[in-house]
Amino acid sequence: MEPVLQHKEVVLDVSNLCKSFGNNHVLRNFSLRVLKGENVVVVGKSGSGKSVLIKCIIGLMMADSGTVILLGKDVSLISVNELDKIRARVGFLFQSNALYDSMTVRENLLFPLRRHWLKRESTDEESLVREALANVGLEHTLDMMPAELSGGMRKRIALARTLILKPQLILYDEPTTGLDPITSREIIALMNTISKKYNAASVIISHDMNCIKMAADRVVMLIDGRCYAEGNYESLKKHDDAKVAAFFEGE
């Protein structure tokens, strides 16, 4: 961890998280702390429990044991309404983008603003939509349907939807999966720009080396359900452990 980050506010504190599906122990006492403005990339093999981890963080899945303190609140102890209020300050970019097929881009972006307490606070929804689209460079798609967009554009629109509420923490589930290398790099650059602009922390689930290289302040290796190794890209690349080295082979 870089010393400069030590005194920053903790936005996410996961401790001793366990989650099993039958006899398959996906997470075993996994712990992770993310500071304000920090970009953490969680890497691991497919099926190692990365997506389960991110779903436990946002409360889409409940862990068997352990705690998730998200923006100062324990997600397992708060009411649904309180959880929704916390979620309004957290962005979630789904692996499949999860754009609503039956809605236009504008309606997709307006959807997170439906919450009544936000409606009272937000003065101009239209300007929020235009700002979010300008951030991803797709202002002209406002009235298009998701089916009319390319894969990269859909990813950008999904990113714009997570940004509309100016989140303090953004969770990315495999943000570059299924994209070509050039578009992948564009998306990663965009993620970095957005993090800096809003001073938002990021937890990025990925096994894309470009993503690790370009986006990570810190890399956490999730192996056998535990935090197996952590550090920056360079230090992990030189790691002498066989399991860590295997991941960076060919780099």
């Binding site: 779903k55 889409l60 929704d84 979620r87 979630f92 789904f94 983008n97 039956s102 997170p112 919450r115």
Partner: protein, 256 residues
């Protein structure tokens, strides 16, 4: 798969559906009400089904008349065709056929739509966005199906009777006034009301089954296909079961 496993699967499914229905009733009265989405679903479910319901209703009335005519002539009661047809159409044929078409069109589309939303994480995205997906997706669709089917059945009654009028006039001649008088003389509110009341239950069953199958769709494109297919099969079966129960109740209440 042996009988015991099949029974277990059936009970698990029935229990799941009962819980899902219970959840519907707890959510339907709680604010916030998704009125705009409910109206949008009513438009989709009701208005978009009109052409199909209209065409099938017309053909049903026409064909039933033509099939019935030879036997009626044989017994010398050809003039009673409008009376017999109106009773048959209003009480049984129109509600059940409309409900079956509705199950095929709306039940399958609900199963497929919610199934693909589940597979592509759109339902999770709604939850993360602070919107209760059950209320937004399920409650609105089930209510729309429950409210729209009776209206479609009433329209189908009228259109199928028009089909019957055309059928009567293909070989014979009956004036519109005489046809309407014969229908109104023979159909009473005690025929119409039970028939309409049961269609609320048909619509509810189609909505609940379609949404349940889609909402808990298994991952993958095959899962979506299975959801859509089983939604139609189960909803159609439920229509007949509800019809069987309804006829017993109307019999007990003296409407028959």
């Amino acid at each position: 798969m042996n009988a015991r496993n099949q029974l277990k699967l059936f009970l698990v499914e029935a229990g799941g559906m009962a819980r899902f229905t219970g959840n519907f009733f707890t959510q339907v009265f709680k604010p916030r009400y998704e009125t705009a989405e409910l109206l949008r679903q009513c438009f989709r479910v009701g208005y978009h089904s009109l052409p199909l319901i209209g065409i099938t209703g017309f053909i049903m009335g026409l064909v039933l008349t033509m099939q019935l005519r030879p036997s009626m002539i044989e017994y010398g009661v050809e003039s009673q065709i409008p009376a017999i047809l109106s009773i048959a159409l209003v009480r049984e044929v129109s509600p059940v056929i409309t409900a079956l078409i509705f199950a095929g069109k709306i039940g399958s589309s609900m199963g497929a739509e919610l199934g693909s939303m589940r597979v592509t994480e759109q339902i999770d995205a709604m939850e993360v966005s602070g919107t209760n997906p059950f209320k937004f997706l399920v409650v609105t669709r089930v209510l729309a199906a429950t409210l729209m089917l009776p209206i479609l059945v009433l329209l189908n009654d009228v259109i199928s009777l028009y089909g019957a009028y055309v059928g009567v006039n293909i070989t014979g001649h009956t004036s519109v006034q005489l046809f309407i008088m014969q229908v109104l003389d023979n159909v009473s509110f005690s025929d119409l009301i039970p028939a309409v009341v049961k269609t609320f239950f048909f619509g509810f069953a189609v909505g609940i089954v379609g949404c349940y199958k889609g909402y808990f769709s298994k991952k993958g494109t095959e899962g979506v296909g299975v959801s859509a297919n089983s939604a139609v099969v189960v909803a159609s079966l439920l229509v007949f079961i509800i019809d069987l129960i309804a006829v017993q109740i109307t019999d007990l209440l003296g409407f028959n």
